[in-house]
Symmetry: C2
Subunit: 148 residues, 2 copies
DNA sequence: ATTAAATTTTTGTTAAATCCATTATTAACA
DNA sequence: TGTTAATAATGGATTTAACAAAAATTTAAT
């Protein structure tokens, strides 16, 4: 991916600016491919992420703020994201007995099933996205990303 | 930024998966800071990008597909993005005489003025976002991003 | 010249994100 | 205990995005 070519400019862009544009372009591209991979399952990247978080929780039910924390997204949205997953039968929700302000959200068997299906496709997609990298380069990239 | 810490997991994540999650986290963080910097100007990142593209065009007016090309976003949105900028007086739009399907979009003086204002703030924001990088690291990062 | 095809932009519809206020419950504490 | 503050989640209103289809115009083809 060549930044200047994509945004069709002949001017030299300052390294800082270029880095941030570069990052956006790459993220867009990656996101596009992942959305596409999820499309047959009629699930959005966000919904998928919530499911993944819930699976990660094991038997411990998660409440909305926990999900929200792990998501870097806005709470008000998370409520409705969970609504969507609920209506698809992928999660269950009930009020927490100990603290009735909280809700306990758990992934259902159906949720686990669809995640299992998605896992394979997603793995392939990730491989494809990263096909030009060797292991060392990936490590290096992760180290650099840590600096943000 | 430590991935495992942010998404609060103790499991080891495969390098490929980790890279992609890492990228999303970084992008989100960056985007958040830039949106915040633009907020006082009541302009969205997308709108700002359009303005920047138009400034890059100099006197050559751009049509919608040109803008769209340089944006990695969907066309149907671009029309309405330009509508917004038009209503704020930052761009002008008229039908192209030679090919009446096309529109000619140009940035106005007001548009240039606000861009000039934003430039400074954005520069600071970029510096802040990248404060942990030295020049070599940025170059390295850009090289790695090219591999996507 | 007439019709079909392609290009460029717009519009309608629906879904998703964002902002801000509100409700419900619990915690703090004078 | 009663009052205020803090926390957790929800809901309404508005923007923005995504998808599909339509409208307007030009190009190509017979």
């Amino acid at each position: 991916m060549n930044v200047e070519e994509i945004i069709k400019t002949d001017k030299r862009i300052a390294l800082d600016k270029r880095t941030i544009i570069h990052l956006s372009l790459v993220y867009n591209k990656v996101n596009e491919q992942i959305s596409l991979a999820l499309k047959p399952f009629e699930i959005s990247v966000q919904q998928f992420n919530v499911l993944r978080i819930l699976r990660g929780q094991g038997d411990t039910p998660a409440n909305l703020s926990t999900i929200n924390d792990r998501m870097v997204t806005k709470m008000s949205n998370t409520t409705r994201l969970v609504d969507k997953l609920l209506s698809k039968g992928y999660v269950s929700r009930k009020v927490c007995k100990i603290n009735r302000r909280k809700v306990e959200i758990k992934i259902t068997e159906e949720g686990l099933d669809i995640l299992k299906e998605i896992d394979g496709i997603l793995f392939e997609t990730e491989q494809r996205i990263l096909k030009n990298f060797n292991k060392e380069e990936l490590k290096e990239l992760n180290l650099l990303l840590d600096k943000f």
